[in-house]
Structures are given as C-alpha cells and as structure tokens.
Symmetry: C2
Subunit: 382 residues, 2 copies
C-alpha cells in the first residue's frame, strides 16, 4: 500500500493540482468532497518504470484535477493500445513521456464539465485530443479548451478513438511524398495492418490502384478476400512473389510509383522490386525487426528514393496544416462507410487481457506481426 500511495503522489504531479488542492481521495468507492470546479478522480493505467508492459503497468486512481477557467474535463470513452504505446512503456520509443506516466496517446471522450470561460464546447460533446497527447488511458482528462477537437457523434466509438495514429498516417503517406493522380498505383507490404487497410481504401477513393503483399499464414486465401473487399486491386503472399517475376503478374495494373513498408527485410525488398523507375518507398514500421536492404543499382539505375514517415514527428512539423480538417474528413469517410478496419473492443476491466492480446500472447500468429495487425479498444467502465 505504501508503494501505491507513493505512486499516486508521483502521478499527482502529472495532474497539476495535487499540491495546490490536497483533496481527500480514495482508491475506490465514492468521492466525498471536492470543489465543484474539479474533475472526478481518474482511473488510470500507469507505469512508474520502463519494462515489459505486463510487468510494469498497474491500474490506479489518480486524484481530482482543478479546472481553470479555460479547462475542459473530458470523460474518456475509448482509447486504443497501439504498438507505439507498448514501445513507450518498454522505453524503446524515441519520444515518450517522463515516468511515472499514464499510458496511451489517442482516444475519444465526452465533455464532462467546463471551466467558466469555455465557449466552444458543451457538456456531452464528443471530443478527441488534437494533437494527440500522452496519457489517454484514464477515465478523466483535464485540458485546455483548445486541446480538444469536437467531432461528429454518428460514428462508432472505436473509430473515433483511433482516427489519428493509423488512418491519418495512411492519409499523409498518400499525400506527402508523391503527387499521385487517378490511374497511378501504390504497393505495400503489411497490407493487413490498420494503416494498410486504410491505405487500400484511401487510395481507392483517389482512383489509385493498390498492390498488396501479405505474409504467408494459415487461411491466407480468406485474408486475401477480406483485403480485396476493402478495394485492393491485387493481393499476393510473399511466397507467391518468390516464385514469379513481379513485373509479369500485375496484368493491367501500372507499375507503382509509391510503396509503403511496415515490415523490413525481404518484405521491403518485394516492395522495391514492384516500384517503377524513379519510385519512392516510405518506411513507417519494422514488424520483422530486420533492416531494409537495397542494392546499389536500385539507387543509381532505378533511381529509387527511400524515405520514412513518423506521425508523431509530422505532428510537430510545419507540414501539419489543418490537422483537424483531416480528422473530420476521415471520420466522414467512416460515417459514409468508405473507411473500415478491424478492431477488437475490450472492456476496461479486462485491460490485462487486452494488453496480453496486444503483446501477442494470444492467437497463433507470431508476436511481431500481431503487434501491428490488431488494435484493441478499451471501453472504459467508470
């Protein structure tokens, strides 16, 4: 218990108000007395040290936070476990919050209470932190009005909670590297990942064909059908590419000018083989934990360009532009049924189960692939 109280004192600092407002709080049960202009205590997934997530994270209650006049208290409704969240807890991600920290980076919530000067939001509005920010794995978050973006309510909660990290990555990667026009083609590996699924659909909307490489797995025919239903023009497994010349199997699909790599190793080499003269490959993940290997002639004679994309960096760059308009656009696609991806909702009380799944402890697929290809939603129980 002493250790837990210590943790709570540490986390209090994260919530800005512990020293100023020494409220009485309890680990569970009703909260007896606190100022009106304060958040409820927050149930949070926290870690005090970096390490294996199933070893270092705990669920604790954090004390209430005072609302200043421009603050908005949001009751979080859902937040995903993304692979980068896992890497931050492990301490291997280059940008991560100082510890102790609350987990999570994106999510959706409902406005619970408002500071006196807040004018653009109302109690009950659905909002997401935009830009996304650390600490979304908790039940109540207090931030300034300007940090929240009001969104439409007629989209499924799980999409609202996950619209930034993966779909926005897909959107930006299709926009920021090559000037794609209708009739062009792109190629990607890891096509079953959330980003991969979004790329297929966002490309389709632009009239851009997609060539999709998936790893060999039991039931790959079913996976191919799923991917095709999303709008994929061509899907093949890595082993199929070993047997055939990539240039001969495309039929009427043009050679792709842009490729996406979230795997590395051989899977990246396949993307490079598909690319046409002067094409660009963008790396945004490394599920196979193997480097990208490129022949000298690919650079000199094929004139390929290799780049990288990291949404978190992009968020702080001068390329951001109107990020909230992009979010609205993506949610409008969800609303009209043009953007879908597979998510598995898990109630908050089963957080350890969700974490185990995110860590690849369930299912027959290798951990490193699972980590990217599934996404778990926490339905917060307050």
């Amino acid at each position: 218990m002493a250790s837990l109280r210590g943790a709570l004192r540490s986390f209090g600092a994260l919530r800005h108000c512990v020293s100023a407002c020494p409220f009485p709080y309890k680990l569970s049960g009703t909260i007896r007395a606190f100022a009106v202009a304060a958040s409820p205590p927050s149930k949070a997934v926290v870690y005090e040290q970096h390490g294996a997530p199933d070893q270092v994270v705990r669920v604790v209650y954090l004390p209430p936070v005072e609302l200043k006049e421009n603050d908005v208290c949001v009751r979080m409704l859902a937040s995903p476990i993304n692979p980068s969240d896992i890497n931050r807890i492990e301490g291997v991600y280059p940008v991560r919050p100082p510890i102790p920290a609350v987990g999570g980076y994106e999510g959706v919530g409902q406005v619970h209470s408002l500071g006196s000067s807040v004018s653009t939001l109302s109690v009950g509005d659905w909002v997401i932190p935009s830009p996304p920010s650390f600490g979304t794995w908790q039940t109540y978050i207090v931030k300034e009005e300007s940090a929240w973006h009001k969104i439409i309510k007629n989209v499924p909660l799980e999409y609202a909670a996950t619209i930034i990290v993966n779909p926005l990555t897909a959107l930006r990667m299709l926009e920021d590297f090559v000037n794609l026009t209708s009739g062009d083609a792109i190629v990607q590996n890891g096509a079953t990942s959330i980003v991969g699924q979004c790329i297929i659909q966002l490309a389709k909307i632009r009239g851009v064909c997609s060539i999709n490489i998936i790893r060999d797995r039991p039931g790959s025919d079913e996976v191919k059908e799923k991917i095709k239903k999303l709008g994929a023009d061509f899907v093949c497994t890595e082993s199929q590419l070993l047997l055939r010349n990539v240039k001969t199997i495309l039929g009427g699909i043009p050679e792709p000018v842009l490729g996406f790599n979230c795997v590395g190793g051989d899977a990246a080499s396949f993307v490079l083989k598909f690319l046409r003269q002067g094409g660009t490959m963008v790396t945004y993940g490394g599920m196979a934990k193997k480097p990208v290997s490129v022949s000298t002639s690919s650079f000199i004679f094929k004139d390929l360009a290799l780049r990288g994309f990291w949404l978190q960096k992009w968020m702080t760059s001068d390329k951001v532009g109107d990020c909230r308009a992009m979010i609205d656009y993506l949610l409008s696609l969800v609303q009209s049924g043009k953007l879908k991806y597979e998510l598995e909702p898990v109630p908050f009380n089963d957080f350890s189960l969700a974490l185990d799944k995110a860590l690849g402890k369930h299912g027959s697929q290798p951990k490193q692939y699972l980590k990217k290809s599934l996404l778990y939603i926490l339905h917060w129980e307050h």
Copy 2:
C-alpha cells in the same frame, strides 16, 4: 584476317559511310585517296561482343567518314578509361551502345576539319563532346557542330578529357539534393575516388565542411594527408569508426546534412551514422558490391532519405540546364588550381597496359577499389 575485315565492315556501319563511300583503306600506313570532305581513317578500341575487356577489345582502323556541311571532324587527344566504360564492355551497364562498338564515353580533341556550313568552330580549337557520347576511344570522330563544346586551352589535357563523368557528378550531387549553405557539412565514403576528391574541393569552395571516410590500407596516414591537402576537414578510416562513436569525434564540425556513398555495405552504414536528423544519403557507386542496409528507425525516427545519382540519366533529364556552363566552371577551377585530382597518363600504344591497370591487375589494392580510385588517360598517338 578475315575476321578483322568482318569487324571493320561492322564498324563501318557505326561511321555512317562505308556503303555510300567504298574508299580504299589500309590497316596501317598512308591513306592514298579519299574525298577532301572526309575524316582520316580512325584508330579505335573496339569490341564485337561483351565480356572481359582484356579478352574482347581490339585496336583496329575504321574507314574514313564523309563530312556533311554541318559536321566537324575532331582529332581526339585524350580520353579516360572510367569504370563505367569497363562495365559497358562487360555488358553489365544498363545503358550501353549496341555492339559492335567503340569504347569510351568522354574525352577531348582538337578540331581537324570542318563541313562547309560550320561557323562557330575553327581548326585547332579544343572541343569535348557535350553531352558526352559513346565511342571516344578513337583517333578521329565526326559529329555535327552542335555536338561539340569549345573549351579553353590553358588547362592540362587530362583534365579537359575527364571533366564530365567525375567532376560534374560531384558538382551535381552537391547541388541537386540538399540546399547546402556555408557552414554546413557533408560526409562521404570512398573519399579517395576522383568524385570524392572533387567533392572535397567543391564543398570547400562553397564553405561546406567535408568528413571523409577511407578504407583501411597500408599507408593510410599518407592518404589522409593527401586528402587533407585537398581541403578535407576530417578524414578517418573505417576501422577508426568501429572503435569510436561517430558523434564524438567531429570536434567543431557540424553533423552533416548530406552524405555520399560509392561503396555500399558497412561503408554506407558509416555515412548513415554520421548524418544528422533529416539528412540525405546519395548513392552513386557500389565498389564493395554489397547492398546498403538501413535500419527501420533510421527512416522513421531519424527521418533519413536515401537517393541515387547517375550522371548518364541526369544528362537526359530536364534537370540538365546549361551543362556547358558547368563544364566551363569546372575547367576554370582547374585553371585556377582549385580543382585537382590524380590521373595516370598512358600512351595509346600502351592501351593494353592502361586497361590492365584499370582492371586492377597491377598494384596491391583490391580490384574493386582500384577500379574507382584511379583513372587512366590515353594520350593518343596518331
């Protein structure tokens, strides 16, 4: 003899006039009778099939070529054996002339005779084919006036003969990828190559520091001194980099924003390690015959970009601009002593010796390095 006559018939087609002008010609000795408006017969280094250069090239006489009114006949004075010339003969270069072919791609000559309408050149002018073109390993070349670029005469012949393939590559690579400003730094491997030597000096002229990686070799201290005399700010061997953190050894030199790789393998990885966040590495050669290996995090978190450069492609692109002005600029640097590189002149009669040297058959250095780090000039004996 029958075979040689056959070869000559084939090469006659290259010179455009054999069927139209069935001159008598001899393999050696004086030429007795041909029209005034024709070139002398040309002594040429030719190959009828692809293969090991020392097996497939021969020196033969090609028949005279008729001069049309806009043609200029140039007596070639010097032409280098570049590694790409070797690769074309081997048949492994992506763009090469149809066989049978005359070797060579750049060189310098003196105007020997003019077609009746030529107005911008005079007999005795020094000229280089610009853009460079196949077939410079011969004593007389006939091309339209517009294919020749008149150059200054007060530069050493060997620089005039070699000013395009290597120095222009260095110039373009410093210009076309990153907007370098005075005080920036670049890093390169293969710093002893002709391009590497040019990069050091052209960077210096722009106030840009150069970090230079050389392979371990006997006498590397002497090599370092030579490179430093060219203006290098920092020189180290690959083995030195294995022992020390690249970031800690630079002293006051800023982290480089641009890198050049002509080696591949580990030597390319060293360049990547030196590069600063957001930096670009340009590959223009692959002496080690090993691929470039790049970690996922280099792309995502370090935001590195990898590109390639090929002068021959650049020559046909819309980026060429005023190529002849660039040649004049480079020759003016030679003239003022600001651009130097090591060349080894070999008389034409010793062509087989020059070829053997270019193939790395002499000297103690491994073939693959020698091929890029030395350049041979043919002083043509007519």
